[in-house]
């Protein structure tokens, strides 16, 4: 091989490298953007919210099993494994998912897992009824339509910050989803428009429905549980029964999929009719679970109001 041939070969290699290096550099971001964001969620409604916001542009991963009761959940090893493999976690943050921080800590993700507080911009309201003169924050913002939409917007905004390539799509999907939730609400609003809501009085076993009631101009007169998930003492129960009688409450909303142990004695003592509302928990996570559960809740609420008009 002559010297000139050797030089030509060297030049060819140099040129090839000059072409390949930028090509490899350009290919890297394309690969990165092709990687789907793995969005963790803690509660059923957030699975629906995130699934509808991200569509097929990100993966939604539930942190705990679908059938678990978030009210008294104890973290399991599999939860920690899941927490180790997500890019961001969406939480309620003001109740129901306190266990998420234990899981994050156990997974060693305290410092490097972005958290989306779904309620960050939701205007909170107090638990209805008499809470012994104290205004206590109601964390059930997801059992509603307006507060749910606010959370959808907040999640979409934060996901857009973390995944700017898909920010426009997330926002568009969030607006479309909000439109569907509003359409669901509007259907029942038409039904409620024909009813006299001014005399409607209700009690609930669990303080889960103030946001939903607020949307229809309805208010809760009494809550049986003195605190979230805490059973009343005999004296507290007696006081609540007295309050129900005094306020002329006709309807008691109990919890679907939960025990009616609290509702039955109150029904017997006061003559209220018991209806069951959903806390939006179930056996499977799905994109449409929130809409299905809220439709059932609004149907139950409409039936309860109609019952009091008879």
């Amino acid at each position: 091989m002559t010297v000139a041939t050797k030089h030509r070969a060297l030049w060819r290699r140099c040129i090839a490298l000059l072409v390949l290096i930028p090509a490899i550099a350009l290919a890297a971001p394309a690969f990165a953007s092709a990687k789907k964001l793995r969005v963790g969620i803690t509660l059923h409604p957030y699975y629906s919210f995130v699934a509808n916001i991200v569509g097929d542009r990100a993966e939604v991963i539930a942190l705990i099993p679908a059938e678990a009761n978030p009210h008294n959940y104890q973290p399991q090893p599999d939860d920690i494994t899941r927490a180790m493999n997500i890019d961001v976690l969406v939480v309620n943050g003001i109740g129901h998912d306190e266990w998420a921080s234990q899981i994050i800590k156990a997974a060693g993700r305290t410092e490097n897992l972005p958290i989306i507080q779904a309620n960050a911009t939701v205007a909170l309201i107090p638990i209805g009824g008499d809470q012994e003169g104290v205004k206590v924050v109601n964390p059930h913002t997801f059992v509603s339509t307006t507060a749910a939409i606010q959370q959808v917007f907040e999640i979409a905004r934060r996901l857009g910050e973390l995944d700017p390539d898909n920010a426009t799509a997330y926002r568009k999907n969030a607006l479309a989803y909000a439109g569907r939730i509003r359409a669901l609400r509007a259907g029942f609003m038409t039904r409620f428009a024909a009813l006299d809501l001014s005399s409607f009085r209700c009690a609930t076993t669990h303080a889960g429905y103030d946001y939903m009631m607020q949307e229809f101009g309805l208010f809760v007169s009494a809550v049986i549980e003195p605190r979230h998930g805490v059973a009343p003492t005999a004296r507290q129960l007696a006081n609540t029964i007295e309050a129900i009688k005094k306020a002329n409450v006709k309807v008691l909303f109990a919890e679907k999929n939960f025990s009616l142990d609290l509702a039955k004695p109150i029904e017997a003592a006061t003559g209220v009719k018991v209806f069951a509302l959903s806390h939006i928990t179930g056996d499977t996570y799905s994109a449409d679970e929130f809409e299905v559960a809220m439709r059932e809740n609004l149907e139950t609420l409409a039936q309860a109001v109609e019952y009091t008009q008879q």
């Binding site: 309620n119 205007a123 917007f153 439109g179 038409t190």
Partner: protein
């Protein structure tokens, strides 16, 4: 009997007195630890205290005002997003199509005082001009209020004439970054104790306060998390 010796013999501890030193050091360590904890512990803050011209949504508003405020928050966000995308403002007619509370005239609107909403655009003399559908008819009663915002750079949804007991009048004020107003690309909500309060002459905080309007401070999830978990100093 032997007299006791007048001389005092000092008996030094066999350890050389290190126990006293250790006790002093241990006391200092405890004091330092306690002082360090007090200085570095997460600060537990209470709910934000409203200024004299502000009102908290959580415990400062009546049920009807609270419901309308809760609806105005996401509505404001959606209106801003829509403006970012289209450059226009969601008109009240468009709000009906979008089923957007609190403007949408449904059972919520009815149960919460049937508030009369007006859209007041910046620098216009006709209400709705520049809104997305431009199909509205000029209303002489709002022409004056539109004049009031001339050059002020804020888009305002003004709600009045609600008839629920204890109801307020409302302003959803959306500022433009380019217009140089203090609320850049964000919405603020104001209430007035008189449900028939006239549209303010000037949509700026000092003027609004002077005319009896109060800014609503939402007690939101971020505030609650801060209250419960505290903030690092």
């Amino acid at each position: 009997m032997a007299r006791p010796s007048a001389a005092i013999t000092q008996v030094r501890p066999r350890s050389g007195g290190w126990e006293s030193l250790a006790l002093v050091l241990a006391t200092l360590a405890v004091i330092t630890s306690v002082a360090g904890y007090v200085l570095l512990r997460p600060e537990r803050v209470g709910p934000p205290t409203p200024l004299s011209w502000q009102v908290r949504s959580f415990d400062g508003l009546g049920a009807v005002d609270q419901a309308i405020h809760s609806a105005l928050l996401p509505a404001g966000e959606e209106i801003i997003w829509d403006n970012n995308d289209t450059g226009g403002w969601v008109s009240l007619e468009r709000a009906q199509e979008l089923l957007l509370p609190p403007f949408y005239q449904d059972a919520f609107w009815k149960a919460n005082g049937e508030v009369h909403w007006q859209l007041v655009l910046p620098g216009t003399h006709l209400t709705h001009k520049g809104a997305e559908d431009d199909a509205t008819v000029a209303d002489p009663t709002v022409s004056d209020v539109s004049k009031a915002t001339l050059g002020q750079g804020a888009t305002v949804y003004y709600g009045s004439a609600g008839h629920a007991p204890g109801q307020s009048a409302y302003l959803l004020i959306i500022g433009h970054a380019h217009a140089g107003v203090m609320w850049a690309n964000q919405a603020t909500i104001w209430v007035h104790r008189d449900p028939n309060a006239p549209y303010p002459a000037i949509v700026k905080p000092e003027s609004l306060v002077g005319e009896g309007w109060r800014q609503v401070i939402p007690y939101d999830g971020a505030s609650e998390i801060e209250r419960v978990k505290g903030t690092q100093p």
